[in-house]
Structures are given as C-alpha cells and as structure tokens.
C-alpha cells in the first residue's frame, strides 16, 4: 500500500469557514457535535486555505472579559492563525510528520490542513498521523527483519558455494596429483602382465624340458625341439628381469604416493572425526601444504619453522580451510618463483601461525578491505571474494584474530593467533601495514 493513499485516508471532512464569517458564528460551529473530533476548523477563501482557527484560540478570545462583545462581531480572519500547517495529500507520511512536528507547537491545539493541488480537501489530526506512522514503522520493521533473514540465508549459501568452489579447485588439483602416479602405475602393471605372460611361457617350456629329461621314452629329437623353444624364449626375456624389479619399485612408490594423497584428503576433511577435536596445528599445516602442492609445484619453495605446539581444541576442518586458503593466496601472489615461510610459535596465552610470502604484496588502498565479503582483485570468475572473509569469520569463531601486513613488491604476512583453552588473547602488538 502506498504512503500517499495512507495520508489521503487521514482526511477528516470539515466545512471550510469563509474568512468574513463572524467569530460568534464560528463559536456556534464548534458547538456542533459533528466537529467534536476537530481541534481546529479551516478558514477557506474560495478553495484556498488561508488559516485555521482553533478551539483554544476561540476560548482565549471569548473567555476574556467582554470577549464576546469585543470580538463576536468581527470576522474570523482577524483572530485566526494565518500560517497554518498545510500538507499536500500526496506527501509521504514521514515527510508529513516531519512538517507537522517542525511547525506545530506544544501542547497541540491545531490540526493540519490537507490540500490537493493547493485546493482544500479536509483536515488531518496529529494523532491519526502518529498512528499511521507507527503502523508504517511496524510494517517496515517486519519487512526489514524478513530481508535480514533472507540476506543471512543467502550469505550462508554464498559461504557454502565458496567452500564448494575452493573444494572443487582443490579436488581438481588433487585429481591431477593422483593421475600422475596412477598413469605410470597402470602402465607398469600392464607391462608386468605382458612380462608375466612371457614368463609363464618360459616356465612352461622349462617344465616340458624337465618332463622330457625325466621321461624314459623321450627321443633326442623331442629334447632338441624343446631346448630350441626354451632358448628362443630366454633370449626374448634377457635383461627384462632387471627392468621389472625397477618397475616394482616405481609402482610401490606410486601407490604410496596415492595413499598419502588420499590420507591427506581424508585428514583434511576430517569427515571421520568429531567436529571439534584436540589438534596439532603443525599437522594441519602439513596437510594443507600437501594439498596446495598443485599450485605450489616447483615454482614456490615452502619453508617451515614449526615450534613445539600444545594440542588445542578447535574445528580442524575449518582451520584446514583457513590454512589452505592462506597458502593458496600466497602462492598466487608469487609471480614466477618465490618462497612461502610458515612459522608456528606457542606463546603463554595463545598459538601463533604466520604465513609469509615473497609475492607481489597488497597495495595500501586494498589492504583495509581484504577481509570484506565479496572484495576481490581477481578477474571475474576466478574468485568469489569470500575466501579471506570466511577465513576471518572462522578465526573469530575460534576466539582468535588475524592480522595482515604487506609491502607492495616485497610480499605479505598473515598472522593468526588462537587462544589456548581458558585464556584470552592479549592485545596485538605491531601496527597494521608494518614491513614484513
């Protein structure tokens, strides 16, 4: 429902008083019960409002000594308020209320005049206006609450889709990592099958020869033939045994590598463990580095300076997401080759994790915004701009804090602090934007 219609609904029909009507006649009108709800009556010249005269004003004039004798025969225009509050009927409720509160005096003794294109249409009561405002406000509050709920739901959805996107990227990377060992393992097995086939033929030939040697009825001719078969097979396989030994070694290595990747994937998601767990952050960081290997490749060197850390109670799958996000960002900030330093320290109240890179750094104007949702410097389609904002949320949920310092051209450093059980974080030292 539009606000204009609401103001129109407030119109109280009241006859306009011509300016020349006598004060005593107006007093009669106030006695009329049909005007009982009105504080004031409009003075209308033609169809234009020129003033209002209120009950209070009438009392003031008529109650004084000889009031009726002095003023009763004067035109009402002489005692009216010639500067009434006039509001056009299409004015928004809040505008109308603003005009009324600015112009009307306390205590309220007058109503306001409602016009349409300057023409008088009726009176409006302050009380009615207040009621309408309240109803509108209640509706707005309800709408706002609904919008907030919707926004929250879609934010959750976005966070989920960001999670899925980063998960998808990681899965694609890990698939590549697995496909490489899988490639040679499969090839090796197929080659070993071929080798096994020829070995079986060789063994068959050996057995046949042995049978012939042990047989009392075997002829020299048979013996010669079988020896020839055996010799041919042996030449075909010469040297292959050495190769196959190597193949077994490589195959075992490849399978181990696949197992390690799968184990890490499992550790990373922690699907088979409790949501909250006592965790060694160094292990979490190791598994994040392994999964980020696809972005790191030989291009980025990872240095680890781990301190001895007590286990802390946290949500490991969420912290893993944070670490993977920071490491991936660091790798992406490095153009060409570079280094990432991952440092962990135990302090009396908290654990500190630092991820520092030798990448291109974050420009000063961008730095204050990097934890904002949807803020991204990546091209459309390459980042949702939620990665760091989710990181920030996760760390906050853990009662910790995350800080960043960066120097364009030199690199960036992210520092995460997570409180130990029963402790609170001491205030962070070091200003933002300090040289890493």
């Amino acid at each position: 429902m539009s606000e204009h219609a609401q103001l129109r609904q407030l119109v109280i029909p009241a006859p306009g008083i011509p300016p020349h009507l006598l004060v005593s006649q107006v007093a009669e009108m106030f006695m009329d019960e049909s005007h009982g709800k009105l504080l004031s009556l409009p003075v209308i010249d033609g169809d234009r409002p020129v003033g209002v005269v209120s009950r209070a004003r009438m009392q003031q004039v008529l109650f004084r000594q000889y009031g009726r004798e002095l003023f009763g025969r004067k035109p009402v225009a002489e005692i009216m308020n010639a500067a009434p509050v006039v509001i056009e009927s299409d004015t928004a409720l809040n505008e109308a209320s603003k005009a009324v509160t600015e112009r009307l005096k306390f205590p309220v003794t007058e109503d306001f005049i409602i016009t349409e294109g300057g023409r008088y249409v009726g009176m409006g009561a302050v009380m009615h206006l207040l009621n309408a405002m309240e109803a509108q406000l209640a509706k707005q509050t309800k709408d706002l609450a609904a919008a907030y709920k919707e926004l929250k739901a879609s934010q959750l959805q976005l966070i989920q889709s960001e999670k899925m996107a980063s998960l998808g990227q990681m899965v694609a990377g890990v698939a590549h990592e697995i496909n490489t060992p899988l490639g040679y393992v499969k090839n090796n097995i197929e080659m070993m099958e071929m080798f096994f086939e020829t070995s079986r033929e060789l063994l068959g030939a050996c057995n046949a020869l042995a049978d012939t040697l042990l047989s009392e009825t075997a002829t020299e001719q048979q013996l010669q033939e079988q020896l020839a078969v055996l010799t041919a097979l042996r030449i075909g396989q010469s040297g292959e045994h050495e190769d196959v030994v190597k193949l077994f070694g490589d195959t075992r290595f490849g399978v181990d590598q696949i197992s390690e990747l799968v184990k890490n994937l499992k550790d990373f998601s922690r699907l088979d463990r409790a949501a909250a767990d006592d965790v060694d952050l160094n292990e979490c960081l190791d598994s994040a580095v392994l999964l980020a290997r696809n972005v790191l490749k030989a291009r980025v060197e990872v240095l680890r300076q781990y301190g001895a850390l007590p286990r802390i109670s946290c949500m490991p799958s969420q912290l893993n997401q944070v670490f993977l996000n920071l490491i991936t960002n660091a790798a992406q900030a490095i153009e060409g080759t570079g280094r990432i330093l991952i440092k962990t320290e135990a302090e009396p109240e908290c654990l500190k994790v630092t991820v520092q890179d030798t990448g291109k750094g974050i420009p000063e104007d961008v730095l204050p915004r990097i934890f904002d949702p949807f803020f991204t410097t990546k091209p459309v389609g390459q980042g949702t701009g939620l990665g760091l904002s989710i990181t920030y949320q996760i760390i906050q949920q853990h009662g910790g804090d995350i800080r960043v310092t960066s120097q364009p051209g030199k690199g960036s450093r992210f520092t995460i602090r997570l409180p130990l059980a029963g402790k609170t974080l001491p205030p962070a030292g070091g200003p933002q934007g300090e040289t890493p």
Binding site: A175, N179, Y184, N187, M191
Partner: protein, 300 residues
Amino acid sequence: MSDKASILFVDDEERVLRSLDMLFKSRFKVYTTIDGNEAVDIVRRDRIHVVVSDQRMPKITGVEVLRRVREASPNTMRLLLTGYSDLEAIVNSVNEGEIFRYLSKPWSAKEIMATVSQAADIALALEQGSGGEADTVAGGVLVIDEDPTVAEMVKAICGPERAVKWSVDLDEAFETLAANDIAVVVCDIRLRGRDISAAVKALKESNPTVMTIVQTQLQDVETLRSLINHGQIYRFLPKPARRGLLELSLDAASKRHVSMKAAPQLANRYQVEKNDVAPVAALSSKLLGYPDRMRQSKPL
C-alpha cells in the same frame, strides 16, 4: 642411421618417463627429459618423429613446449599427455601446438602404443616425401553457421576473388563440399539446436585436406578433446567471432591446405582416430553415403 622412429617423452615425473621408456624401447628409439626447454633443444639437435609432452610442468607448460617444437620441426608429430583437464590449455594445444592427439592420464598401454605408433608412421612418411612448394591457389571457404554475421565476416576477409559458400543445412553443406573445391570449413558445432560435432568429425575423416575451423560458444573439455582426436580440427575459436583472429586462422588454414595439395602425404598428419559410426548415422541418412561420394568425386 637406425630405421626405428624416434620418440621424445617430456614429463616432470621421472617415473612416468621410466615407465614409458620401458614400454616403447623395444620398438622405438626413445628419448626422455624432465625439462621442457631441453626437449626443444633435443628436437633441434636430433631427428625426432614424435613428441609426447605432459602439460603441467614447472617453468614451462606442455603447450609451450609443443608450440616451440612445431616451430623447430614442423613435421614432428605432437601429442599432449595430461592428467589435468584445463580448458585453456587444451584450446591452446589446438591453436598453438597443432597437436595430433590429446591423451589423458592414466593411459592404457595398448592405446598409447597404437596412437604413438600411428603418429610415428605418419612422421616417417612425411620424411620420405619432399614438401614441394605449392603454386596452387587455395580453394573456397564453406561456412556452416546459422549466424549470418559469420558468413559476412568470412566474405569480407576473403574478398571478391575467393568463393565463399554459406549453408545452414547439413545435407546441403555436404553437397556443396562434394561439388566444389573447398579448402577450409568454418563451422559451429551446434546448428539449429543440434550438436553437429559428429558431422565435423566425419567431414575430416573423409576428406583430410579440408581444414576445419570451429567457432563456438561451447566450452567443454570433453567435446574439445574429441574434436582433436576424432576431428583433427585446425583451429578452435571463441564466439562471438573476432575478425582479426578469424583472418589469421583462415590464412594459416588456407596455406596448410595448399601445401597439402602439393604434398599429399602431408594429409596423413591429419588422420583422425576411427569415429563411431552410430552418432553419424543418427545425423542424416544422406550423410552416411557422403564419405563414399567424396571418395568418388575427389580421389586423393
């Protein structure tokens, strides 16, 4: 000089190289390297018939290796072997690497042996024939695309001297192809809401000297992989069409077509992997008879 063809494998995982070396060494002279830059040096230095490269390697991508191999030794057959399907890489492998096949990890020993052997045979044959300089004029261009702006753009690029045919109907297109001297086909893989990639592949199978430029909005790794292996498309361009890119591609395709006419053994380089008959049959009954008609009308 050994009569074995020589194969160069490039991969940053040495176990992959060791495995492939063992598979191929009885039949080929095998070179391996974990360094893409060294691979290009080997191709410059030695006679290499086939290069099989991984895509994701530190320092240099497989596509870049194959692009430089193509410059250094155009007759060397180029194959990509990768475990990571990345659309940009595969598009570049067509447009820059002009690769013969796109192979996926993990691979099958039998299939990789068959594919690499086929590539080696083609390379050996290319070596035999001298690539004589061509003086023929390139034939016409056939546009199969319902978007009239594509045909207009091709006409504008080709000018009045060169025949440009435009068709929005597959049967009609194949008839045009059989009746005219066509050097290059510019097409989308969707026509009137249908997927016509099977026809694009059939076209190349029956007439290897026609160069295909596919222009499409569709960006799908599996479709593109199949268009390389089964359709040997020459260029894969995005839509909306950009004139500069299309002009360069048409020019290169026309030159390629001319040199192939001068040295027919070159056409072997664009042999496709055997296509499944089923999807082609579903397309058009006329189309089924088309390869035979092509062979009759244009003996290679």
